[in-house]
């Protein structure tokens, strides 16, 4: 009796083992452990880099030529020996004798990462900036000014604090935080859907209804129908959680952190956020639907879900990395590359007031949705909806499971 049980168990185990080993998705299982390691390393590196880049303010120097250069030289000499972050000092203007420099106007103008400005003289420096920046750097400036003035190191010059409400650099940093928050939210929302989309066609295949669908309507329509159904599902989810957030805000959850107003304004930003969410979902969803369409069983879908999640993370990391590099080719690439484009463009909306690039980006993304759906549907028709007798396994990666002609 026991032997019979073991024999039966052996039959089942052998089938399952062979089914897994010879499935085309087994490669992903094999290399699966590499994904967390790789992604962990990437996340650490990119996170640190983004954090560094975003919080890398500069102090502008607007002093006479000799004093300004001496101050920068003192900073460069002492900074390596100082713990913590020491901001970079950059020459804003070499102020000629008898002239003054309008630090307030320069800080409001922006266009660079200057978060505070040193003016005056080495003996009586003036630090202009937001209160938190002035308080943060006042001591350091006194030290550098003393070093530059070659005065007795025990005597530090009095730094005059010239506090202003805000600066272009602070606005830039705050908007970058808003951009990052937008990207994170977008990523979380799209990530939740990936698994659901991936397994979407398995139901039809399991129920054998796929052939009726394929004979009745174009495969593209089937793909689009499924995508939009899931989009609608996700919008219901967003509505529920959005309402919950709204209720919390109304009923005294005062400590909810408020983000800086995005460059395009909140209403446009939210509208763009919605549109980019739809596009991000449609782009990733169509891709995952196409990939999931190739899977024949739930097990294959499960095997595929990890690399798919990792792929989403990669896209997110790329967009985050590009966020900290405005104006570079990396940012442009992240905006042009279809799957990262919605993330990058949402960040762009938080940081830049121009609207027209969003029309271009949305059209570009819509074009890619159409292309992916078309190719996915064709691929599905070619690889899944086929007949023909089983010819045995040609290779472990290419399994002619659907090949049964009558």
């Amino acid at each position: 009796m026991l032997a019979h049980h073991f024999a039966a168990a052996w039959v089942v185990a052998r089938r399952d083992f062979c089914a897994v080993i010879f499935s085309k998705t087994f490669i992903f299982f094999l290399i699966g452990p590499l994904f967390p390691v790789f992604i962990g390393a990437m996340a650490g590196m990119i996170g640190a880099q983004v954090s560094r880049d975003l919080d890398n303010p500069q102090i502008g120097v607007a002093m006479s030529a000799g004093q300004g250069d001496a101050l920068i030289a003192a900073r460069d000499a002492l900074a390596p020996r100082m713990a913590g972050g020491v901001p970079q000092f950059v020459v804003l203007e070499r102020v000629s004798p008898g002239l003054t420099f309008d630090s307030h106007a320069a800080l409001k103008k922006g266009g660079n990462r200057v978060a505070a400005i040193v003016s005056g003289t080495l003996a009586a420096p003036v630090l202009t900036g937001t209160p938190e920046r002035v308080d943060q750097w006042r001591g350091q400036l006194a030290l550098f000014a003393a070093e530059a003035g070659r005065s007795d190191s025990r005597t530090y010059p009095e730094v005059t604090a010239d506090k202003i409400a805000t600066s272009a650099a602070k606005t830039h940093t705050d908007q970058a935080v808003t951009a990052q928050a937008g990207q994170v939210l977008l990523f979380l929302l799209t990530m939740l859907l990936a698994g659901m989309v991936l397994s979407n066609l398995v139901e039809e295949k399991a129920n054998k209804i796929i052939e009726v669908l394929a004979a009745s309507i174009p495969m593209d329509a089937l793909f689009l129908g499924k995508l939009f159904a899931m989009l609608a599902v996700s919008l219901v989810g967003i509505a529920v959680w959005g309402s919950a957030y709204g209720v919390l805000m109304i009923f005294g959850m005062k400590s909810v952190p408020l983000l800086a107003t995005p460059a395009v304004g909140w209403s446009v930003f939210l509208l763009l956020g919605f549109l980019y969410f739809a596009m991000a979902y449609l782009l990733l969803g169509s891709l995952f639907l196409s990939i999931g369409g190739m899977a024949t069983t739930v097990r294959e879908v499960q095997t595929l879900s990890m690399p798919v999640t990792m792929m989403q993370l990669m896209v997110f990391f790329f967009a985050s990395y590009a966020l900290a590099r405005p104006g570079t080719w990396i940012e442009t690439l992240s905006q042009v590359f279809p799957v990262s484009s919605p993330f990058a463009m949402l960040a762009h909306a938080a940081q830049s007031p121009e609207i027209w690039p969003h029309f271009v980006a949305l059209a570009w993304q819509a074009l890619w949705v159409a292309v992916i759906v078309r190719v996915g549907a064709q691929l599905f028709r070619r690889t899944v909806m086929k007949s023909g007798p089983a010819r045995g396994r040609r290779s472990w990666f290419k399994r002619p499971v659907a090949a049964t002609a009558r």
Binding site: E211, A215, R382
Partner: protein, 337 residues
């Protein structure tokens, strides 16, 4: 396009009784489909007249399903052309076609009426109208009590009937069944045969694949015999039978005599009967020779060959054996939960 009048399979001439294109529901020429280097369908020619019951007869793996899928536009042929209801792209006329695949399937959580309405909606019938027609059809076929039951609560046979009704709910001009009798018990097979006949009487073209010769013989006006991805014969069932000469069974009183010289060369003696092919000259000269030779005829019968014999002659012994060995799908009566 000039159509080659010879089958690529046997070199035998294919009967050229093809009606003009306008009278054809389906016209396919030289359809070829390969999968991973294997040729599943190899130059299939089919002409299905409007309003006909047309059978595609062949064993498992012959290429029946692949052919049907190409005709329906589910897959595209690698070469050849097809015209379905006057359109070269079958998907353009999908709303005028009903299709019941061999592997039946519905969404298990759907109610029977909803399932029919869903299938109707796929073919362009508004959902509300589909529900109404679905209820009507279920009532008409004695399944009214199951209208609000989920598919998963129905037996396999009932679920199949629901799908069948869903295939017909939009009153299609062309109905394609892939192995429709597979998995049905004798009672339901009879019901389906009657339904197919009534569809044809209403002018609907019905094309179905089967590996059971008896179904094709009973139902079809025309058939295509398919084996190894090729169609060695396509035409009326009678024409297939006429490929073989009638068989004569003769019983005589006399065992020997001059009359024996009248028997053709293929005559064989089994028990008390002689069996041979009716000579081309007909039965009268044979009878005269037997009488003049004092055969003492006790009985003489002329049997027209059945479709099975014709199939063997056309497709070969191997294909016929494969056809007979094709397993019938099990009939399942228990409810699936």
């Amino acid at each position: 396009m000039k159509i080659e009048p010879f089958s690529s399979f046997t070199g035998m001439p294919v009967l050229d009784n093809t009606p003009p294109s306008a009278d054809l529901a389906i016209e396919a020429r030289g359809l070829v489909k390969r999968f991973d280097g294997f040729t599943a369908v190899d130059g299939v020619d089919i002409s299905v007249p409007r309003g006909a019951i047309y059978g595609i007869l062949g064993p498992n793996g012959a290429g029946k399903t692949t052919t049907l899928r190409m005709l329906l536009g589910i897959i595209d042929p690698d070469s050849g052309y097809r015209r379905v209801l006057g359109h070269e792209r079958p998907t353009e006329v999908a709303r005028r076609i009903g299709y019941l695949p061999e592997e039946r399937g519905l969404y298990p959580a759907m109610k029977a009426t909803e399932a029919i309405a869903f299938l109707a909606a796929l073919r362009g019938v508004p959902l509300k109208e589909g529900r109404r027609r679905g209820r009507e059809l279920l009532e008409e076929h004695g399944l009214g009590y199951a209208a609000d039951r989920q598919i998963r609560q129905l037996s396999k046979g009932m679920a199949q009937q629901v799908q069948l009704l869903g295939t017909l709910v939009h009153n299609p001009d062309l109905v394609v069944f892939d192995e429709p009798f597979s998995g049905l018990d004798a009672l339901n097979q009879g019901k389906l045969e009657r339904m197919i006949r009534s569809l044809a009487e209403r002018g609907t073209t019905v094309i179905f694949s089967t590996h059971v010769i008896a179904h094709a013989e009973r139902l079809c006006d025309q058939i295509a015999i398919i084996a190894g991805g090729k169609v060695p014969f396509a035409g009326p069932v009678d024409a297939a039978r006429d490929r073989l000469r009638p068989q004569v069974r003769l019983e005589t009183r006399a065992e020997g005599g001059l009359w024996r010289a009248a028997l053709p060369a293929d005559a064989r003696h089994e028990g008390k009967f002689w069996y041979f092919t009716l000579p081309e000259s007909g039965v009268e000269p044979l009878l005269r020779a037997l009488i003049e030779g004092d055969a003492g005829i006790l009985s003489l019968s002329i049997e027209r060959p059945g479709l099975h014999d014709a199939f063997v002659a056309i497709a070969g012994e191997a294909a016929a054996r494969a056809l007979e060995e094709t397993p019938e799908a099990p009939v399942e009566r228990k409810a699936r939960r």
